[in-house]
Symmetry: C2
Amino acid sequence: MGAPRGPNGDTFLFNPELLKNLDWNSVRSSLNPPISNEEPGEPWLLVRPLSIMDYSKGYVQILSQLTTVGNISKADFERQFWRMQNAGGYYVTVIEDTRSNKIIGAASLITEFKIIHSCGLRARLEDVVVNNTYRGKQLGKLIVLTVSLLSKKLGCYKMSLDCKDSLIPFYKSIGYKLEPGNANSMVVRYEETTKPQDPS
Amino acid sequence: MGAPRGPNGDTFLFNPELLKNLDWNSVRSSLNPPISNEEPGEPWLLVRPLSIMDYSKGYVQILSQLTTVGNISKADFERQFWRMQNAGGYYVTVIEDTRSNKIIGAASLITEFKIIHSCGLRARLEDVVVNNTYRGKQLGKLIVLTVSLLSKKLGCYKMSLDCKDSLIPFYKSIGYKLEPGNANSMVVRYEETTKPQDPS
């Protein structure tokens, strides 16, 4: 399958058609006023898949609001972009302010092939960030609901996320639940001294 | 890259060489006696990657001890196996009882390409199960530590898992932590009425 391209020759991480006609009716009560990825509330906001051009549009910088990003060159970014596209299952979605051509929000949906659940598809939410200067526009809800509704469209049987205590009310407000007795995320961290190998 | 094959013509999900020389010294205090994937404590136990032959060796049945599996045909299993292998990043690892040629334990390491953490690789633990009749042989620790050490070998910066309250002591005993204020797993579940599309 060739890389999907936009009107400006952009190469997208996934097919932008997948973001059309998401089931916004199912989450209508979560948004006031009722915005959607196709009508994000301002004519200059654009919700779309991550593009290979987004290194120059500030995707890496906005991630640095979230966690350690490190020094990433344009070549590093592009190499990782192609790895994601070749693997499939990476639905990194961004909000662009088309006035400044800057990425101002992002969220990633990652899918995983399972044997359980009838060889089902499972979804995860990762790396959610919205530029602080755009507060009050429901853009956090908008970007998370966009990828959540995409996971539903793809036929996933569940979508999960790991989060800090302070974010629980936000995610509850858009339909995520802490399942009693089954809501723990545990972790082992390794020293970040070595570059990852190419998985093989 | 061709599919890795074993001595019996098995097709493995990933290269069995990756399971050699894992850093068992780093987790020595977790196991008594000190078994490893290469010396699992009994001569008839074999720790290896999932094989395309494992449908007939009971991999699907053992998963049914864990959660809903559904009716999965040999063709369903094989189709999903090839999707996993083509995508890469799926390190499903099993324990076989070579006396009966049955899978008696399994755990999955799934890796994810990130932009954060210097275009790092992140790891997840999924679908851990050990046959109850093999209790007392530390096989739960063995299979989880095998894939955890594999994630370290692959250069992942962290490995995480979601679990029930009752399993927290087990995972703590092998080095996993609940990070204060950042240990929540939240979920949205969808009705399992539709077959997933092929992601594109």
